[in-house]
């Protein structure tokens, strides 16, 4: 009953196709919908003028919260138009600042932003100075038998990656959809006359048990960070052993089909991997194999944004301020990601759960390493999909906080900026069930000593 119902929904959403591999799942599955966090991380920020909206003509001088659901397609900004159909499940947050990054050393904007966007921590030895929000949440809501978090990359990461376990501990995402599929849905032997390969597969738990005991024996002989590293490795071995031996969540799901990949040129290659990763994300969340997913999106290709040959980064992103053609290319760039983000949200929204859909129990954040292509850190564009942060709103936050940047002589320096992005992550973390009072630094100071509070939630999101 439920199955055919969902299939009809999926067909209606245009999602049944070569790349579909949604698991089937019975309605009686989870007693109460768990809360999930998904982060969709893109490059080069946006073209602010073509991203923002000013519903009803309200200005920039005062905070406002406007009804997103009543806006027509034409009233949506050019970048965000692909998300118009989903506006009842969206919050647009306009005006935040990556305050901890502004206050950090002067350096490569891409590197600093990539390390600070999800951590809100300042660099240590050139590396992120703390855990990213996905890892903070994952550790709080972890449960045995479930993957703490799933780190994905579409094509590849940039600038050393945005996901950090802790200070100086980069986490490498999985770029290979087939590999992700094998990790989420390991094959298990079900026949009656096992081959040797079946026997080897069936005995993996016993091997991992021995391996875990070896880490147990060696780790105490080391100290400090080295010991912690081996203990972490041991814990991960144990997690995999547990999942292989008792794949409990699969009780609610049947095994989906594996991803179908194609891509004869760079654009279709990228799109194929993106759709595959969105499908895997949906499957992993629907089957409750994990509750935290990060998807790091590589830089888009020229063909995806209708651009002529040239370097997207150098020739378009960096030029968006003073060249109309480059600005249009980067507007297309933002709209392309908006289409992809919409595709991810539609997939989540196509899975019934409880009285609503899977999307309703998610907070799906679209953020970037920068505010725009010319390396500004504000206003930082944020779009939230899902039902955990009360949707249907456009929230504008005025810039009335002193700018802590030391680069006061830089051409685009502004004396005031919006609220710190740390507060967004506190609010989002709480929305998905984590107990947080701050993320990253709790305060920074301007060059003349004015204190800027970076702790607590973003009240406007309440």
């Amino acid at each position: 009953m439920m199955r055919s119902n969902r299939r009809r929904l999926l067909a209606a959403a245009g999602l049944l196709g070569g790349s579909l591999f949604l698991p089937s799942r019975v309605r009686a599955g989870l007693p109460r919908a768990p809360k999930r966090l998904v982060i969709f991380f893109t490059q080069h920020g946006t073209v602010y003028g073509n991203w923002r909206m000013r519903p009803g003509g309200v200005g920039d001088t005062a905070d406002f919260s406007a009804d997103l659901t009543s806006l027509t397609l034409g009233e949506f900004s050019e970048v965000l138009q692909p998300l118009h159909a989903l506006r009842r499940k969206l919050v647009v947050v306009d005006g935040l600042a990556m305050t901890s990054v502004e206050a950090d050393v002067i350096g490569n904007g891409h590197d600093l932003g990539t390390r600070g966007a999800l951590t809100c921590a300042q660099l240590v030895n050139g590396n992120a100075g703390g855990p990213s929000i996905d890892q903070i949440v994952a550790r709080q809501i972890r449960a045995q038998g479930r993957l703490d978090s799933l780190e994905l990359a579409v094509v590849g990461t940039r600038n050393g990656g945005a996901v950090w376990r802790d200070v100086g501990q980069s986490i490498s995402p999985d770029r290979n959809p087939n590999n992700v599929y094998d990790r989420l849905f390991p094959t298990s032997f079900v026949g009656s006359t096992p081959t040797n390969a079946d026997r080897v597969a069936a005995a993996q738990g016993s091997v991992l048990d021995l391996v875990k005991r070896e880490y147990d024996a060696v780790a105490p002989r080391l100290s400090g960070a080295d010991r912690q590293k081996l203990e972490l490795h041991r814990d991960l071995v144990f997690d995999i052993e547990t999942r292989l031996q008792s794949p409990a969540p699969m009780n609610q799901c049947s095994r989906p089909s594996s991803p179908q990949l194609n891509g004869s040129d760079d654009a279709s290659f990228y799109e194929s991997r993106a759709e595959a990763m969105f499908g895997l994300t949906t499957a992993a969340l629907a089957c409750d194999l994990t509750r935290v997913v990060t998807i790091q999106m590589d830089q888009l290709n020229n063909e995806q944004i209708g651009a002529p040959p040239g370097d997207v980064h150098a020739d378009f992103a960096h030029q968006q301020e003073n060249d109309a053609f480059a600005r249009q290319m980067m507007t297309n760039y933002g709209a392309c990601h908006a289409r992809q983000f919409a595709s991810l949200l539609e997939r989540l929204d196509a899975v019934p759960e409880g009285e609503g859909t899977l999307l309703d129990s998610c907070a799906v954040l679209w953020v970037s390493e920068l505010a725009d292509g010319i390396h500004n850190y504000r206003p930082w564009p944020v779009v939230i999909g899902g039902g955990l942060v009360r949707p249907g709103r456009y929230i504008y936050l005025k810039a009335d906080v002193p700018n802590p940047s030391r680069a006061t002589n830089f051409p685009n320096f502004t004396p005031t900026i919006g609220p710190a992005h740390n507060k967004l992550w506190v609010s989002v973390g709480r929305a998905v069930g984590a107990d947080l009072s701050s993320v990253g630094v709790t305060e920074v100071f301007t060059p003349n000593g004015t204190r800027i509070d970076c702790s607590g939630p973003l009240e406007a999101l309440a």
């Binding site: 590849g156 040797n196 021995l210 400090g224 990228y270 370097d311 390396h375």
Partner: protein
Amino acid sequence: MRTTTALVAAALTVVVFSTACPPSSTASSDPRSKTPNGEKRPPLLPWLPIGPGDPPAEPPGDSPDPPPGDPPGDPPEDPPPPPPTTSLGAPSAPLRRLTQEELNHTLRDLFSGIALAPVVVSDGDGKGYEGDVVRQTPSDLAVEQVRVAAVAVAAAVVAHQDLLLPRLPSADREDQRALGHELIATLGPRALRRPLQERELDAYGAFFDARLAADNFDVALQLTIAALLQSPSFLYRIELGADPVDDDRTALGSYEMANRLSYLLWASMPDEDLFAAADANALGTPPEIEAQARRLLADPRAQDAVLSFHRQWLDYDDVLTASRDAATYPAWTEELRQSIRTEADKLIAEAVFGSGDGRLRSLLTTTTTRVNRSLAELYGVPPPANDWDLVQLPTQERAGVITQAAFLASRSHAVFPSPVLRGVYVLDRFLCAAPPTPSSAVNTTPPVEADVPAPTTNRQRYARHSADPFCQACHAGIDGIGMGLEGYDATGRFRTVDNGFPVDDSGSLEDSGIGGSFRGGPGLATLLAGSDIVNECVARQWLTYTRGRTEDDVDWPAIDDVTAQFRAADGDLRELLVAIVKSSSFRFLPRQVNP
């Protein structure tokens, strides 16, 4: 356009699944097979004694075969744990996991004679060398990749058990249990690269017995090998240290030193000679270490390590994914990119191990390299009789690694070469003085404004951002170098004309700490080759690569010591490596500080 797209797609495939492709130096081109007489083959499972009917293994060198059974120098069982550390002590020599390349080399040497598909255990994200600990955070992905790799390798080994089992010293072929235990006792010390403790022999033996009872011999063997390949002592380079030397330093154990030497100089595991030296505890004194280092450097495997360092230091793989505008550069094909990448290795190998003198100066100024037909066309020399024959490039146009297409093309845009990226690269890699990239709100590409006359040359286009005094602070140094390389287009081809105007390839190092002005690539190379700053920087790059973590203030004594020896050896890169292995930082662990 269509061509470019297809090429980029092909290149992207390389990027995305590069970890799934055979490492270039392992699968098909084991340097040890390239012996002069062409008949010598890699030693078959060198840790196994020679059995009846087996092909002769490599002569074991000066050392006798290690006796079967327990080697001497078995470490004491479970020594007491070290005192806890505080963050006040010097940064430790961090615990390092084998990189993907080291892992594949190790498996190649551990199971030599058995063809293994390359394994995928991704080196993580980050900007440092692949072995930098920042990139080695244990994750579900990494641990699962190790498990999958171990299963696959163990399956391949068990499929070739005919190579293993007949040569086990004493086991009764009919007694499967004894056979399994014999294999653990023989393979174990090589896989873990140190003698096994009784506890470990018992644990792996009991595991084998249990699987033999539950499954069968082949399955038990495969699972036991898979377990060994996932153990911390296989996957990581665990250094517990031996005896304290003084208040600050602890000596390395002899097996730990054997591993340090082989992974630096071969990017692989120790060989039988090195294990024999460790067995005899003969890796403690500088002369002992130096003798082994010189032996390792004379082995073809040293080329693996030296090429790996240069690949990472000089970003040689970047050129594989560099896309060019097809209308401007119709000759820019996948084949040409691959050729450029191959030539980068060949120039280094020739300068350090081939006809060159192994001096840094030569690396920076040599015109001797190897080319195929398409590269000969790019470099403007007659096509070689055979691909990859030795050629001399024109001395007025080329000089060493900074005039290689691999560097010049990877630091260019689709149409125009980038003096900025080229200048930053030279500052970062050769002077260890990377300028900060512009942070917020700086337009970082040359503008193409409508209200000023179109630039005549690339130099003029880029000169515009030097006009802004705000940008001058950094760009005087960057552009001083990069503008001097305007004689090479975005594919690395030499040019004297740009957009119909003569190329101005004058450059300056006045703002880069070295001083002097120059013309063109050879002029820049000559200045760099004569600079002590460059000498020191190359020593620092090698030390950072060796250490597995970013440089710290406490590293300066080692840098000064090694640089002095490098200078005294007239910039001989092999002597630089000898100096590194004899240095205090390589021979000792910092003693942990008791709180």
